[in-house]
């Protein structure tokens, strides 16, 4: 809706948000941060959106924070808080991606570095082109991982391998990322749209409420012990059990046909 730095397209209940500053490798200036967050909010509210795809225009997914912005920020005597900058710009978007109860796919078309990698890691499913890569770029500029990078990497890889990537700042190629479990699937660049499209279509036609509740449960259970996790699953199953889509699935099973989910 009148965005300058991103493109939002909606088709067949799939909303695709494209980070669109290809000349700057889709790095996040403040404008793009605001617009991306606004687009996330809008897609969350939109009942006609049942799946999101996040991707980048040109050869990068996103190079992360636009470092050229730092120059202005450090001009003169002032040295504003990077922590506050993160709290304001990145934390709301990472939390919104994790808590939005709709499936979100990262279509990683190229390099995802720094907070760009964090956004990819925050998504529910990652599908990457062979040309893509993930890079913990923070140490290269004398900083620590932010925007959730340390959290997502440590959970995915354990502290040893997470620290290797954080401390060396090396680019993990798509194939290696797949082997490490950081991306779900790698395909040749020419097949990326097809691969993402298939998954997105399946999710957009899925039982949206149950997909959202599954995300809620997975987000939460890592904080729980087994007793609590069992109880949390049961509470959410009560909710899923009351959806139209569940009843439809049971009917379809008895009638030996494919269910038609409406997301209600």
């Amino acid at each position: 809706m009148g965005y300058e730095t991103i493109v939002v397209e909606k088709k067949d209940q799939i909303t695709r948000i494209t980070l669109n500053r290809p000349a700057a490798l889709n790095s996040f200036n403040d404008k793009m941060g605001e617009e991306f967050y606004a687009a996330l909010k809008e897609a969350e509210k939109d009942e006609g959106t049942r799946c999101l795809v996040i991707t980048g225009a040109g050869r990068a997914f996103s190079a992360g924070e636009d470092v050229s912005g730092l120059k202005e920020r450090y001009s003169g005597d002032s040295h504003p808080s990077l922590g506050d900058h993160l709290r304001k710009k990145y934390h709301p978007m990472i939390l919104r991606i994790r808590h939005m109860e709709k499936p979100i796919i990262a279509r990683i078309n190229g390099i995802a570095a720094g907070s760009g990698a964090s956004i990819a890691l925050a998504c529910d499913i990652r599908i990457a082109s062979e040309e893509a890569g993930l890079k913990q770029a923070f140490i290269g500029v004398g900083l620590v991982p932010d925007s959730g990078s340390s959290y997502f990497l440590t959970r995915a890889l354990g502290p040893g391998r997470a620290l290797e990537l954080i401390m060396t700042g090396r680019t993990v190629g798509a194939k290696e990322a797949e082997n490490l479990g950081l991306v779900n699937r790698v395909v040749p660049a020419a097949e990326l749209d097809k691969a993402v499209g298939e998954v997105a279509e399946k999710l957009a036609n899925g039982p949206t409420k149950a997909l959202g509740l599954s995300k809620r449960v997975v987000n939460h259970v890592s904080r729980l012990d087994l007793h609590e996790a069992l109880e949390y699953e049961a509470q959410n199953q009560d909710i899923a059990g009351k959806t139209q889509d569940h009843l439809e699935a049971v009917r379809a099973f008895l009638e030996k046909r494919q269910p038609k989910f409406t997301g209600t």
Binding site: L213, R216, Q235, N236, D238, I239
Partner: protein, 257 residues
């Protein structure tokens, strides 16, 4: 009894009261409080009702006092209106109240929540005493009940910064009994109220009274109070029925006598 600010429903053995000013996040004006107290007092007299669920809506239990009503008030107005007399009556509710709380429970809303006997909260609930942000302080028990519930340091932080806490923090600090997904908090609270409503009503009432006594009295006095209530229950038919059913290994049939 016609109510305009709340919705009252009887679903024996429980009663349900829903704060119903959704456009203003269930802000607590004088009328709403009056109706709430009257509804609770009516339930106290109604033999079919043995516990109450008090709730708002998914977005707000209550965002607190009606600022419009307060902004022009002088101390004399406040004395004449004597709105806290309603809170004093609220405190005397004899039957158990289960709060079903989602969304904002702020200021007077948080204080009202703390007047419940148990709280089931949704994961999206937020508790806070933000009065300090508008140049006042809690006035309906917030400084006292919050401190006794979560301790001096946490209470001081909430009251002096005005910063609310999430449902999870509230659960960790003992301000709520249980948190469940937003779709389930009301049903969960009803379940708890129904469970309580199965018990012997006189015992429930005297036990509630004794627990609340702990807020007001030194230990020795509280123990004496508890003992008297305990002895008193041995004069009830329900006590005899309860013990008989226990030895006969069957569920008791309580009559409230």
């Amino acid at each position: 009894m016609p109510f305009s600010q709340i919705l009252v429903e009887t679903d024996p053995p429980i009663g349900i009261i829903r704060l119903n000013r959704p456009k203003v996040f269930n802000a607590l004006n004088f009328e709403l409080l009056r109706e709430l107290v009257e509804a609770l007092e009516a339930f106290d007299k109604d033999d079919r009702i043995r516990a109450t669920v008090l709730t708002g809506n998914d977005d707000a239990f209550s965002a607190g006092a009606d600022i419009k009503e307060l902004s022009e008030a002088t101390p004399v107005d406040l004395i004449q209106r004597n709105q806290f007399a309603l809170w004093d009556r609220l405190k005397k509710t004899a039957k158990p109240i289960v709060g079903a709380i989602s969304g904002h429970a702020l200021g007077g809303g948080c204080e009202l929540a703390m007047n419940c006997d148990m709280i089931i909260a949704s994961e999206t609930a937020k508790f806070g005493q933000p009065e300090i942000n508008i140049g006042i302080m809690p006035g309906a028990g917030g400084t006292q009940r919050l401190t006794r519930t979560i301790g001096k340091f946490r209470a001081m932080e909430m009251i002096l910064t005005g910063q609310p806490i999430t449902a999870r923090e509230a659960e960790k600090r003992g301000l709520v009994n249980k948190i469940v997904p937003v779709e389930a908090y009301f049903e969960e609270a009803k379940k708890l109220a129904v469970q309580i409503a199965q018990k012997a009503p006189v015992a429930t009432r005297l036990a509630k009274e004794a627990v609340l006594k702990a807020f007001d009295t030194p230990l020795e006095e509280g123990l004496q109070f508890e003992r008297r209530n305990f002895y008193l229950l041995f004069s009830t038919q329900d006590m005899k029925e309860g013990m008989k059913a226990f030895t006969e290994k069957r569920p008791p049939q309580f009559k409230g006598r």
